[in-house]
């Protein structure tokens, strides 16, 4: 199988599969990054990013810590390089803080529930357990 069309482009010779992702960060080591998103040139421009970062941050307040985490993931170059992107940075940092706090709370509750078990909660544990909960409300019969 061969490419019969135009000659192969002379590219930056990125060999690794993750090269497109890390291409941005390799540029970062030379100076301030050009692109605020993790996708590099395929992602958003700086002006669009501000709007998106703000929207992700605000939506995260609807009990969506996963959205906050994605916000941080998406704008990872913003987090890594402190002086650049002064407009986007506050939102991303606050998203990171929010995600950490929320996960800590949720994780501690889930761990307490799982480890404490019946000893801690007595009969309420059985009611709160997911599969009992599902059986009670008939949620498993759909498939």
């Amino acid at each position: 199988m061969e490419r019969s069309e135009e000659a192969l482009p002379d590219s930056a010779g990125l060999v690794l599969p993750s090269s497109t992702i890390t291409a941005n960060s390799s540029a970062n080591s030379r100076g301030p990054p050009q692109w605020p998103t993790i996708d590099g040139p395929l992602g958003l421009s700086e002006e669009d990013s501000i709007e998106y970062a703000r929207r992700f941050f605000k939506f995260g307040f609807l009990f969506l810590p996963w959205l906050w985490a994605l916000n941080c993931f998406y704008f990872w170059p913003v987090l890594r390089h402190s002086p650049s992107f002064p407009h986007i940075r506050p939102y991303v940092v606050r998203s990171a803080i929010g995600f950490t706090v929320f996960t800590a709370l949720l994780g501690s509750w889930a761990l307490t529930f799982a480890i404490g078990g019946e000893r801690l909660f007595s009969h309420v544990w059985d009611e709160l357990l997911m599969y009992n909960f599902a059986d009670k409300y008939g949620l498993t019969g759909w498939i």
Partner: protein, 415 residues
């Protein structure tokens, strides 16, 4: 085209990388479905008792006590009904697209992915929790499911989420629908796979085929169809001063106006100027609803309407396609993911030997399809070659290879 002093990439690096970038998610999807099937089906082995009433079993409900001929006839009937529904819905989709109801299509796509993630995903997660006796409470579970679903809908709906996240969610959606399909009775599944690949062949290549009409409509209007299509990350061509427009490759949602081949950057790409399209439409049926999916390989059209799984009556059309995006990145429709995974999942229900054989067959078929795509430069169906090879290998393995291997192992001859 910039001709720098840098050395040219070898054909292995550029071509191989593009192919790897499409084979990896397909493999991951198949792998996840095989895992799901092996975990969830070891407990309920009597699959005949798990008959779900869907549009795919409306004509005949398979019973393990029926004779082979009866099962075959019933399966044929079921598949015929299914393909007929898919065809009808696809034509409806073409009609909608013709009347420029793109907004409606987009919302429908978001809505259907919500249904898949929330209900099918929730169901499967619940089954997993039950089977593994995982002590999770309902608050945590519901919160996590809610998060997962909402972000998934955003990722699929919006074109501006992180590429990795969108790709991940598309693979997850494919996995969930594929697992749902494996719950159909056995004969029905196999005949359905063959029927869908024949339908795909007809719909894309025949002049009157709905998918071909859709593709031509989209080309003539230079628009994107809103669809669930997996688009691989484009390879290389990111020079520092590159003229590649930022979102020229994004085709996963139809809200952009098509920047046809006018991207300067597309000339950089080896396959940049190709307009290959294949659409995959998917139709899934659940509880009276049918989701149509027709596999299509399409380069720049993304259409996806996914049908509600359980509760909502109506039909979702999912158009997927495999093709080359204007940036040269390969696009594969979600229907292809789903049907490949259904094949492998079904093979997993028998034994892992069939899984390996079918996996190799599907990957080989995918490679052949990509080759044909490069040669013919037009819309191509992604299902036929892979599914036919897969079914053939499954039958050969089950009937011939297994006996051979087992006898050899018993007599300590090989393996």
């Amino acid at each position: 085209m910039d001709q720098n002093s840098r050395t040219r990439r070898t054909i292995l690096e550029s071509l191989g990388e593009e192919i790897i970038r499409i084979i990896t998610p397909v493999s991951i999807c198949m792998f996840l479905v095989v895992i799901l099937v092996s975990i969830l089906n070891t407990n309920n082995d009597s699959s005949s008792s798990q008959s779900i009433s869907t549009i795919a079993t409306i004509a005949y409900t398979e019973d393990s006590s029926d004779s082979t001929w009866d099962k075959l006839k019933g399966a044929l009937l079921n598949s015929l009904v299914f393909v007929a529904v898919v065809t009808a819905v696809t034509f409806f989709l073409v009609l909608l697209f013709y009347f420029r109801c793109t907004k409606f299509l987009k919302y429908y796509m978001g809505f259907s992915s919500f249904l898949v993630l929330a209900f099918t995903g929730g169901e499967i997660a619940l089954l997993l929790v039950q089977d593994l006796s995982f002590p999770v409470d309902c608050v945590t579970f519901l919160l996590v499911l809610y998060n997962f679903t909402v972000v998934g809908v955003l990722a699929v709906f919006m074109s501006k989420m992180a590429i990795f996240v969108t790709q991940g969610y598309l693979v997850v959606i494919g996995m969930l629908v594929a697992y749902w399909f494996t719950l159909l009775p056995e004969w029905t599944t196999w005949v359905l796979l063959v029927a869908m690949s024949l339908y795909d062949l007809a719909a894309v290549l025949l002049p009157g085929g709905p998918l071909r009409l859709l593709v031509e409509l989209a080309i003539s209007r230079d628009e994107d169809i809103p669809a669930l299509v997996y688009e691989a990350r484009p390879v290389n061509h990111h020079d520092s001063g590159g003229g590649l427009t930022q979102r020229s490759w994004r085709r996963s949602s139809g809200d952009e106006s098509a920047n046809s081949g006018s991207n300067v950057g597309s000339a950089h790409l080896p396959s940049g100027s190709c307009e290959n399209r294949a659409y995959v439409e998917e139709v899934g049926a659940a509880g009276g609803d049918s989701a149509l999916s027709a596999p299509l390989i399409e380069r720049r059209i993304d259409v996806q309407m996914h049908l509600a799984e359980d509760v909502v009556p109506g039909e979702n059309l999912a158009l997927e396609g495999i093709g080359l995006g204007s940036s040269g990145a390969i696009k594969l429709g979600l229907g292809d993911f789903i049907f490949y995974s259904v094949l492998v999942g079904r093979a997993a229900m028998y034994d892992f030997m069939t899984v390996y054989a079918c996996y190799l067959a599907i990957i080989a078929g995918l490679g052949i399809t990509l080759m044909l795509l490069a040669v013919y430069q037009k819309a191509l169906p992604a299902l036929p070659v892979s599914v036919m090879l897969g079914v053939l290998f499954y039958l050969l393995t089950r009937l011939l290879l297994e006996a051979f291997v087992v006898e050899c192992s018993i007599n300590l001859l090989m393996f």
